[in-house]
């Protein structure tokens, strides 16, 4: 039998198989983009992460490209969710894969606790002083943008727009509500906002768990992340879900049948920052300049306009117009914003996730 097998493998067939496998891999490789380079040939280089979607598009266009050309630095942007970036940096501490990482508050405090973030030298940053007070982080770089949580819905299937997160519990929406899993930042923000609405806080979420259990008949899907939640909304799998304004306004501009309303009560938010990684390959000056560019009025103004619509952290940068119309004036916004305390959340999050898996998931 072995002889039969051996004599059947000819040079031609081996070459053919090799060519087939090679072509297959090439076709597959063409379909994936993990990173790309912007900027020009110059002194240094910097490797920074960003989130996918609007974040990546905005950072490539207004941050990486312009910074690279102005400073003569080669900027490589990698699309990587915050938790994954932190996880990789922790795993390779002495020789981290990135110089600067874009991370939300939760992973930022986790990374700080693990000692993988470098202190931000304020005096080297021109725009440090221009940031609104609520967006500073002690010892670290300030936030570059914020996202606000509201209610995303399908206007074709829901004629009366919801006004409050408590509308999710309306029996009319049985099986039509989607929620994000607690592993995602969106899911945790929604959960903590729910606790707040029920009179609890980041340390007292018992009522939020009870409310989520009561929501089970209405839950059509628990999505692992914001993008899959938005996909489900577009596909008609669900008709209503808690979601970020920027994300929903972005897909609405691209033609999706979705709309977003701000709850009449407080509006929960989550901010993200660009942090310099300890032991980064890029020199500190380059890394600080890159973060400083993200804090600048130009970049923040650009990122607050459609299709990005992020809430700026620079004191002078305007609110996204559409969001301002939905929320009222900027002065009102300060009073309406609810910024969860992620330092407390991080201490309790593992326990919440495990309980959520047990009580809420199938």
């Amino acid at each position: 039998m072995t002889r039969r097998f051996a004599t059947r493998i000819t040079r031609r067939s081996a070459l053919g198989a090799g060519l087939f496998v090679g072509t297959s891999l090439l076709i597959k490789a063409c379909g994936t983009t993990s990173s790309s380079t912007a900027g020009s040939s110059g002194g240094g280089e910097i490797l920074a992460t960003t989130f996918g979607g609007a974040w990546e598009e905005g950072h490539r266009t207004y941050l990486a490209e312009e910074f690279g050309q102005a400073a003569g630095i080669e900027v490589t942007i990698v699309s990587e969710p915050g938790l994954e970036a932190v996880s990789k940096v922790i795993a390779a501490q002495p020789n981290p894969p990135y110089d600067v990482i874009l991370i939300p508050e939760g992973p930022m405090f986790m990374a700080e606790e693990e000692g993988v973030l470098a202190a931000f030298p304020q005096d080297m940053s021109e725009n440090y002083g221009e940031i609104q007070p609520q967006y500073y982080n002690e010892g670290l770089a300030p936030m570059v943008a914020s996202q606000v949580l509201g209610i995303a819905y399908n206007p074709e299937r829901i004629s009366t727009p919801p006004t409050s997160l408590s509308d999710f519990w309306n029996p009319e929406y049985e099986g039509r509500v989607g929620i994000p899993a607690l592993e995602s930042g969106l899911g945790t923000t929604f959960f903590v906002e729910l606790a707040r609405l029920e009179g609890g806080d980041e340390n007292d979420v018992e009522a939020a768990f009870q409310r989520i259990k009561q929501l089970l008949p209405n839950i059509g899907a628990i999505a692992p992340n914001p993008s899959s939640l938005a996909t489900l909304l577009q596909q008609g799998e669900i008709d209503m879900a808690p979601h970020w304004f920027d994300y929903i306004s972005g897909i609405k501009a691209k033609g999706a049948t979705v709309d977003w309303v701000a709850p009449t009560d407080k509006v929960a938010s989550s901010s993200s920052s660009l942090q310099i990684v300890k032991n980064a390959q890029a020199d500190l000056e380059t890394a600080v300049s890159y973060v400083d560019r993200a804090l600048s009025l130009e970049v923040q103004t650009a990122m607050s306009k459609p299709p990005y619509n992020f809430l700026p952290t620079h004191a002078e940068a305007p609110l996204p117009e559409e969001l301002a119309a939905k929320l009222g004036s900027s002065a009102d916004l300060k009073d309406r914003l609810f910024i969860p305390n992620w330092q407390i959340i991080n201490q309790n999050r593992a326990e919440w996730i495990e309980r959520f898996d047990r009580e809420v998931q199938a």
């Binding site: 072995t2 087939f20 297959s24 379909g31 938790l83 693990e114 592993e183 999050r349 593992a350 998931q361």
Partner: protein
């Protein structure tokens, strides 16, 4: 008999022995597989904070009923997908084996076609098919078989269906390889001795193709229980399998020792199945010879 021992009078003797030829791969595997595996296993015996040796991670895994449910569900998924792949894959492989050369070319292309597309793309295709307004529900509602769309997405059944389609080519290819090793004279001999087509299939073809079935089952089972993308997209946040649990613990909660322990448990589950199927494979190989 091995390939190197075949009589090759016209060829020069290879200067390297078989062992030396395997050295680059052995070095590669040691560096990128064995060492990381040792590091992983060592991590699973560490406490969540600080150093030392502890069995706490394993104790925590096996004392929590939620984790046992995840383990059972993952094993069950592997088993279901393997059986489904076998049921759907064998007839395709058999048809290929019986087909003419021209058909074989077309079939080879069709069988390999799904492998040219990324599993992520195929999974998103399944999201569209399984949705409330997807292909299956539209068809069933259109035929009047159901009034309201049934829930397929975010169900275990949906995950099993998608995984079956994704890993089916591997089962088909393994069985084809095995069927092509069968001496066609055996079937002819059976026929000349009065054996009908069914009898020939049950008593000759099927037993002789067992090595292919076993290797196909091994591949499909191991790949299914370790899949991450498809279960997380089709299963959503409501279904938890071992790879999703590893991701949750390792990346979201940064609990590396527990994630390592879950990985080790998954590895042991796969190794047990590999051992059982390999033992079965050894027996069938004796039968084939």
């Amino acid at each position: 008999m091995s390939v190197a021992n075949l009589p090759t009078p016209k060829r020069k003797k290879l200067p390297l022995t078989q062992g030396q030829l395997a050295l680059p791969l052995a070095a590669f595997l040691t560096l990128f597989y064995v060492i990381p595996m040792v590091v992983l296993l060592a991590a699973s015996f560490q406490p969540a904070r600080g150093g030392g040796f502890t069995l706490a991670q394993y104790a925590e895994f096996f004392t929590d009923s939620a984790n046992i449910r995840v383990l059972t569900l993952t094993f069950w998924l592997g088993l279901q997908v393997t059986i489904a792949c076998l049921i759907f894959g064998y007839p395709v492989a058999y048809f290929y084996h019986q087909a003419t050369a021209r058909w074989k070319t077309i079939l080879t292309f069709l069988i390999l076609l799904p492998l040219l597309t990324s599993a992520v793309v195929r999974t998103f295709g399944w999201v569209v098919i399984l949705g409330r307004q997807g292909l299956i529900n539209s068809l069933l509602v259109g035929l009047g078989m159901i009034d309201e769309p049934i829930k397929l997405l975010f169900t275990h059944l949906g995950v099993a269906m998608a995984m079956t389609q994704i890993w089916l080519p591997l089962m088909v290819l393994s069985i084809i390889a095995s069927l092509s090793q069968i001496d066609p004279r055996l079937a002819a001999a059976s026929e000349s001795l009065g054996g009908g087509k069914w009898r020939t299939f049950w008593q000759i073809t099927l037993p002789l193709s067992l090595p292919g079935i076993i290797s196909g089952c091994l591949l499909v089972f191991a790949l299914t229980v370790s899949s991450f993308v498809t279960p997380s997209i089709i299963g959503g946040g409501q279904l938890m399998y071992m790879p999703t649990l590893i991701y949750q613990q390792g990346v979201v909660l940064l609990n590396k020792p527990f994630a390592a322990a879950v990985s080790a448990v998954l590895l042991i589950m796969v190794l047990i199945v590999v051992f059982l199927l390999s033992t079965l494979g050894q027996r069938t190989r004796k039968y084939v010879q």
